[in-house]
Every structure is written in structure tokens, then in C-alpha cells.
Symmetry: C2
Subunit: 345 residues, 2 copies
Amino acid sequence: MSEESTRRRQVTIVDVAREAGVSRAAVSKVIRNAAGVSPGMRTRVDAAIRVLDYRPSASARAMRGSSYTLGLEIPHLGNQFLNQVIDGARRALGQTPYQLIIAPADGPEYGAIQALADRQVDGIVAISPLVEPAWLERLAERVPVVMVGRHDEPSNYDNVVGDDVTGARQVMAHLLGLGHRRIAHLTEGEAVTAPGSGIPHSFRLRAYQECMAAAGFGSHVQVVRAGPLENSARDATAALLAGEPRPTAIFAAHDELAIGALAAIAELGLTAREVSLAGYDDTELAAHPAISLTSVNQSGPEMGRRAVTMLLERIAGRTEPSRCSITPTLQVRASTAPPPPEDGS
Amino acid sequence: MSEESTRRRQVTIVDVAREAGVSRAAVSKVIRNAAGVSPGMRTRVDAAIRVLDYRPSASARAMRGSSYTLGLEIPHLGNQFLNQVIDGARRALGQTPYQLIIAPADGPEYGAIQALADRQVDGIVAISPLVEPAWLERLAERVPVVMVGRHDEPSNYDNVVGDDVTGARQVMAHLLGLGHRRIAHLTEGEAVTAPGSGIPHSFRLRAYQECMAAAGFGSHVQVVRAGPLENSARDATAALLAGEPRPTAIFAAHDELAIGALAAIAELGLTAREVSLAGYDDTELAAHPAISLTSVNQSGPEMGRRAVTMLLERIAGRTEPSRCSITPTLQVRASTAPPPPEDGS
DNA sequence: ATGAAAGCGCTAACAA
DNA sequence: TTGTTAGCGCTTTCAT
């Protein structure tokens, strides 16, 4: 009659306390490694925990103290660079009692970030979201937040960024040094590159424009934009390469765009000798012999590690905002080469 | 003296009840869309919720009912195919009240899956973990579980798999049809391909062996294994291609291995005319012109969608196990071609 | 249709 | 050092 084997009742701290012949508080102290427990007590409780296969309820814990959970929001899955950041974050958590959970967004990240907060995570790492800084400031009053990849000047949260101006300048110096004059920049939509948005792409774009102007090629500035769709970068590049005069080099604002551009280049049967291509992020694929993409390494794992470190500091009590900027380095590969000799020269 | 602007007290259901001039129970009913609330009540409560910017605490809800959270465990980030599965799962959740969170594992997945259970998720999607089926059965007694990518015969949980035998046979029929005789198989370690493990790779390996034998090339069976390290597939392939006689085709057990193999092939300056290459999963990259990899499409998004659907059914009360097998289709691309003419013929 | 009250599993004062 | 107890915010009978 009773639902016998269907759903066993959960083992709680009370069961452990009874099994070990101690109080609930004692068990609580043991599982939190809190002070004030005798070795004997600890031994007995640990034994009871093992016997009963007890698992503390994160929800119940969250109601009184911490959930021992850190939430990480990403704009979308499948971006290799972001995966590196996440991996760095995960490793940094190492032997801490915290568990990392990831909330993937799609489009405006408010929902995913809010969902993490609703779940009483002890802290949030938000990666490059399009959310309003003011909104984040408010959220950060309630829960520790570290933002990765935005050049904001937050007062309630921390941020970790790459030095995008330096990175972009390295690319441009490399391309200009090879002799390129008609260098195009492939980036994302206007919303993402708007000056003052604080988004890395806006800094890379500006640096591109400034380098072109400084080299005296301001009139050759050509900005191409890819939308969020699958083959957008590929199509945009195909259109770019069909125009006259064709650029001799393309600086893509990140590797994913570059891979898309490479598809267009490959489809036209062109090589680095005709069109040079540089990316940003130095993802795993960039090093692949079939791709061999010149790219800027801003060490994603390190960014993830730093983000978690800062978040743990905040959880531990720090309230002054902290910033961290990572200096990138250029990885030169086969996708960039000197331009072909000028036509009619 | 009091901590004024530092940390505002959280808005609770009590605040909403007071603001709306109703009871806590009434508010609870409204936020759950439960029956027995008058339109007027609903209106007033909704208004109060908006005014106070109230967010229900998932932890508190989890203690009495659901957490409205579904957990998804993946063996590791960065696998494009798994990302497709996740994306399918995320979309399937669509307008349901459930939020998807992801727990990345590394190595044995017990920890990540357990972490999700500890957090009182309402259900778990586990992707191809190396965990003992018996362990999962026990867990599934306490929380709804759907397993993706293992050919188990579970009694307490559901599973979603691709038809790996059919997929592998399609690859082999294609390669044999092109005239290949010395076909090697690149796969993962012994633990993953052990017969009876239920892991897809074991089925793909077996199908490879059987197809070779059936075609009369049993003596040409050559299984190469890649470890978990970065360039393992690349190195293993390089060693394979250095041997004599060199195989004319390689069937990689999944695209990631194939991409690694391609690196070795490209480094030797070889093309599809010398060495054909086929993968499995038909990831985005396989379609890239610079890669153009023949691969088996088992529609990851559909697998994710199905997994979530089944999980929601279980949450709704189903207890009989359910299975779902997805039929794959072969995508032929430029990486496979007829073998070169036999030496000394 | 609405409200009162018990209690989910845990932590943190405080008492012993 | 150990135990007692009061909640955390919510859902859910059960009255009204």
C-alpha cells in the first residue's frame, strides 16, 4: 500500500546525528570543518556520514549560510575561447568546497544571470554580457560578482579584461610591418562595437582605426560586420573579397569570425599569399596545421583563474572593487604573409 | 551605525503579501499559477511583485517542492557535438518554468552528477559518463535521470542514444565502396571501447571490425588509440602513417579525433587522395571548406531535445523506463576519396 | 476563494 | 566541547 521502494526518504542531518549519537549542531560543525569539535566526535560523525551515505542539502544550507555554489554565465556555448576561460575557472576552484555551475544565455544575458542569483549562488562570474552596468551594479549589491571581458569601471563588482588596445595594435603592427596597406577589419554588429560600450570589440575596432590612420592609410579603413547567424562571417567576407580593390589583409575581431572568413577565402581558392588573415583569442583551432591562424593570445584560462580568485576574495569579505588586466601576446602563424606586389606597379 | 546601503535585505514572499494585503499562501499560489486564485487577487499580487521586484528563492522552494532547475552534466567542455546536444536541451526548455544549469566534469563524472543532485535539481541529464550503471540506478531512485549516449538497459532512468552500429556501418560501406582495403580505426582508450561498456565507441569499434571481416579484410584491421591529452590523436596518427604499409583510409570514432588526425595528415603534406579520413558527429567544423570532413550526423540538438522531453515526462510522474534511438546519416565530403592505385600493381 | 500554521534541512547564537 | 533552539523563505494541508 505504501510507496515502498519507489522513493526512499532523503538522509538528513538528523539521521546522521542519531546514528552517531550526537546533536545536529555537532554534525553541522563537522561537515563545515568548523572549530570546536573533538577528534573523537569528528571520527564518529564521519563514520555515520559514510554509513548512511549522507549528502548535505545545498538548498537547506543556502537558506542559512552558503550554497557552496558559484555560478558562471556565458553568452553562448561553443565558443572555444570562453571554454578556456571556464576551464581556468573550474580548475581554480580545485579543492575549495565550491562547485561551479554554468548558465548558458542566448541573447540578452539578464535571464541567465538572474537565474543564478535566484538559485542563491555564493557568487557570479559573468562573461562579457550585454547587460547594463547599472543593472549589474544593483545585482552586485546582493551577491558578489566578477565580470569578465568588459572595460567598465564598476564600483560594486570586479572585472577581468584583456588589454584589447595592446592586442589589436600588435596585430596591426604585424600586418603593417609585412607591408599591408589595405587592411579590412571584420567585427560584430554596431551594438557590440559602440564606443563606450566597454566591450572588447569596441576597443579593437578603435585601435584598428587609429593604427590605420597613424600609418597614413586612413582612407583604406574598411569595417565589415558579421551578424549572429551561422555563416554570417563567411558571407560578409565573401562579399568583401568580391569588391574592388580587394583588401590584402583581414583583421578579424575574434577567431570564430576568422574561421568564418577563412571559409570564404578557402572557397575562392585563395591563400595567405593573396589574403592575409589574423584573428583574436588564439583558440586551439588556430594552431591546427589546416588553419594555422595568426592570432592574439590573451590566455583565457588565466582570466578564468583570476576571476574565481577575485570572486573568492569578495565572498571572503572584500568590498572595494578590484580590476585585472591581462597583457596579450601575438602568435604569428602561416595565415599572414607579405601582400602580393601591387597591381600595375 | 547600521549597515545601511551595504546589503539590502532580500525581498521575500512576506513582503509581497504585505504589499498586496493578502496572505503568503495566496502569493505562493500566484507565482506557481496554482488553481484557486481570483483574478483580482492575481492582479494585486502581480502588481506587488513588480513593485518590489520580488524574486522567489529557489532554495526555499526546493525545500518544499521543486527547485525549477534541471541539471546537465557533461564530461568536458569544448566538445562541439556535446554543445549541440546542450543547445537542443536548452531550447527544449523554452517557455517551461525550468532553468538549465550545466556541471562540467573532468574525469569520472560522479562528482559533477552528485553535485547536481546535492543541489536539489528536479532532474538530471547525464551525457555519456563513465559512471557505473548501478550507481546511476541508485541515484535515479531519488531524482529523475536521463542518460545520453550509453546503450544501457536501465530500469530507473531513461536513455537517448544514436544508432552507432548503423552509423559506423555507413562509414565503412562508404570507404569500402570507394575501394579502400587498408582502413584503420582511430578511437579512444581501452576503458571506453570495452565491449559491454555500453559506450558508443565500443559499438563503433565492433562495427568497424565486423565490416572489415565481412569484406574479407580482417587481416587489415588496425586500431589506433588516442589518449586524453591535447595532441594525442595527432601523434597517434603520425605514428600510424609512418608505418608500413600505410593505411589508405582512417575512420575516426569522432570528429575531434578526426581533426587531430587531419593535423598529422596535413603536416605530412598528404591529401584525401593519399589518405581518406572520416569522422563521427558531423560537427560544425566538419563542414568548413578548410576541413571538409566526411562524417556521421546523429543530430545532437535532437538528442538534447528528446532528453529534456523525457526528463519532463519523468518529473511529471512517469516511472517506466523509456528509450530513444536516433538514426544517423552519413555526410560525404572531400576528405574521403578513392585510394591511390596499389603499389607494384 | 482565502488564510493560518506546520515544517522542509540546515546553521548560528546561545546555554550548559 | 557539546547540545538546544530559533528561524531562513517557501509550499501545503486544513480551516474558514
